[in-house]
Symmetry: C2
Amino acid sequence: MIRYEEMMKGVLVVISGPSGTGKGTICSRLSRENSKLYNAISLTTRPPRQGEEDGVSYFFSSEEDFRRLILEDALLEWAHVYGHYYGTLCEQVEEKLALGFDVILEIDTQGAEQVRRREKEAIFIFLLPPSMEELWARIQGRGTDSQAAIRERFAAARREIEEACKYDYVVINEDVVETTKAVEAIILAEKCRAERNQNMIRRLKEGEKG
Amino acid sequence: MIRYEEMMKGVLVVISGPSGTGKGTICSRLSRENSKLYNAISLTTRPPRQGEEDGVSYFFSSEEDFRRLILEDALLEWAHVYGHYYGTLCEQVEEKLALGFDVILEIDTQGAEQVRRREKEAIFIFLLPPSMEELWARIQGRGTDSQAAIRERFAAARREIEEACKYDYVVINEDVVETTKAVEAIILAEKCRAERNQNMIRRLKEGEKG
């Protein structure tokens, strides 16, 4: 008997989207509502902020260790931003996938490009704001940034959106519930793709009648 | 404002699967539970059976009219089976898609092949039985056929399954609720595919901030 669960092998899901599209909210919601879904934790050389625990929002690493991991090709993707390294350990992702978890990487378009080159079976989802006006309002609404910083963030968001068409899927994040549902649907649908199930189809055909 | 509904343009969904996989049950359930989902009605030259109304399970047509429709290229797919014509009117499908309905065609692998050549944007889903033993049991379980007919039906099912890998998606129909959910997920996911949303992405990018 070939069971449905055999189609349920974990998949790697990359989620990108400009700042202000609500990636973080969607990713936490996804893992909260799906017990077999794991949000990968980034490794960083930036020092922990007050109250940050190692292995919760980040794994913390020394520069020396991080550079060694780069040279050992142990990172699925990494970047050097504002003087600190950030990256994702291959091992962490592979371990979780092997245990049957779907693994979500919430990373920017440059990180996604690195994953795209390494992981042919990963799924790439780009979250979009409902409109540029709405994005502007959301970026401005944070209230902590200067006008110059807001304009810079908005320009960066516009550049990120240029990359959306390189992704497999785009989801307009207008409503958290609908967006979560769409991402869940994408993951389930991808597991049903015929190209992911060639072995299963072959085994089914080879099965004899009872 | 670019609304989520703009991604919700109707899609054409072809569902195939050998006899005994429960295609009919799944398709009725899908349209019963989704008000924007329409099961296309076949056109046939076979005479109506007792109680069959035109436009419910079939549209009934004369041989002459059917042949004219073939020559006018007005059929999305058609076949001549046991002395009768069966087919799907392009017009019916296009009308429903234009109204925003997703349209389901429950057709065999030969019909699907015709749609595949004409409709590049259609989605092809193949329903599989959980095992060949289970399929044999289901075909036999109908109780009305002779052993020879059962063997013939089973052999035909095995040949149909050979075609599964030409489809975009395969779903093992072990449980009606799970299978319905998987088909719904496939439809929603397909609407989020970046390639179907190039215009939306372009319009979003061109939008100015408020």
